[in-house]
């Protein structure tokens, strides 16, 4: 029993030391608040950044971006940003391979999901980034923030 516990303590201590040592720079960046919005390394996904409601509203007003909704079909049907394209995360690999994003790679894309702690917008943004798009904005406030702000919705209320 003593040996069993000693082994566990050694393994856990080794893991903490190795994890902290190998990821030292990452831990420092985290402490500085770099990954507050989401776990995205800027050097790995240089074309993705997070935007606020005001920025999303501005892009919508200037018709300068394609909005992409990563929620399910049912949630999308219940209400979405006007003109948004629905690419549910579970269908994304198939849909993106099938050419469901017929835009030039320089086009600004705004990806959103429900808001709050939903994570599908980040996962979808990564997949789109892998397809070569280089101006992807993640609107973390998502549908909850958009609809609560009284901004245009489809179908109209």
């Amino acid at each position: 029993m003593k040996n069993l516990l000693r082994g566990i303590v050694i393994i856990l201590l080794l893991s903490i030391i190795l994890g902290a040592a190998v990821n030292f720079s990452l831990v420092r960046r985290f402490v500085r608040g770099e990954f507050k919005q989401g776990f995205l390394a800027q050097e790995e996904f240089p074309g993705i950044r997070f935007i606020t409601l005001a920025e999303a509203e501005d892009l919508f007003a200037r018709a300068g971006a394609v909005f992409i909704d990563s929620r399910s079909r049912e949630e999308f049907a219940a209400g979405h940003v006007p003109g948004a394209l629905n690419i549910p995360l579970e269908e994304s690999r198939q849909r993106l391979s099938g050419g469901d994003l017929p835009y030039p790679q320089e086009r600004t894309l705004v990806v959103y999901c429900e808001g709050g702690d939903c994570q599908t917008s980040i996962s979808l943004a990564k997949l789109i980034h892998d397809r070569g798009f280089r101006d992807i904005r993640i609107f973390r406030g998502g549908w909850t923030e958009w609809s609560a702000a009284g901004l245009p919705v489809e179908p109209p209320r």
Binding site: L5, I11, S15, G19, V22, F35, F39, D117, Q119, S123
Partner: protein, 150 residues
């Protein structure tokens, strides 16, 4: 327990030492591989943890930094036979945690990949729970002291 008399609790234990050795290699190899894949992409793994919508941001990061090393070390130790029972116990605890996490995700209707093998991860579903249960059974046999198996 009286020596030599089989007990109800041990009748389903694996007794063959070669099967146990193969179990150690299989479970160890799988955990070593899973750990290494996550060590190479800690942020991706942190995001996978967040996708379960159960852990606060900071905790997801800490888990993503440490857990892959626990997996890799336990896997390596199981293969080489060092800290065999300690590693098996930690692997069992992790498997129980994974099963609970996937079950909770299914109950809450969260559709996500498991995050278990980095970018090669599969969907968090019932099949994954079944796979983890088989691994848990194999691992519990490794923890059991020799006299319980003989």
């Amino acid at each position: 327990m009286e020596r030599g008399r089989p007990s109800c609790g041990t009748t389903t234990m694996i007794r063959n030492k070669w099967v146990l050795f193969a179990s150690r290699l299989a479970v160890g190899g799988l955990f070593l591989w899973a750990g290494v894949l996550k060590i190479t992409d800690p942020l991706g793994f942190a995001q996978s943890i967040k996708n379960y919508r159960l852990f606060p941001h900071e905790l997801a990061f800490i888990i993503a930094i440490i857990l892959p090393w626990v997996e890799a070390l336990c896997g390596a130790f199981l293969i080489v036979g060092v800290f065999r029972r300690s590693s098996a116990l930690l692997v069992s605890l992790m498997l129980v945690g994974f099963i609970g996490l996937v079950a909770l995700a299914l109950l809450r209707g969260i559709d996500t990949s498991c995050g278990c093998f980095g970018s090669l991860s599969r969907k968090a579903d019932l099949k994954l729970i079944l796979l983890d249960t088989v691994l848990l059974y194999l691992t519990l046999n490794i923890i059991a002291p020799k006299q319980q198996r003989d």
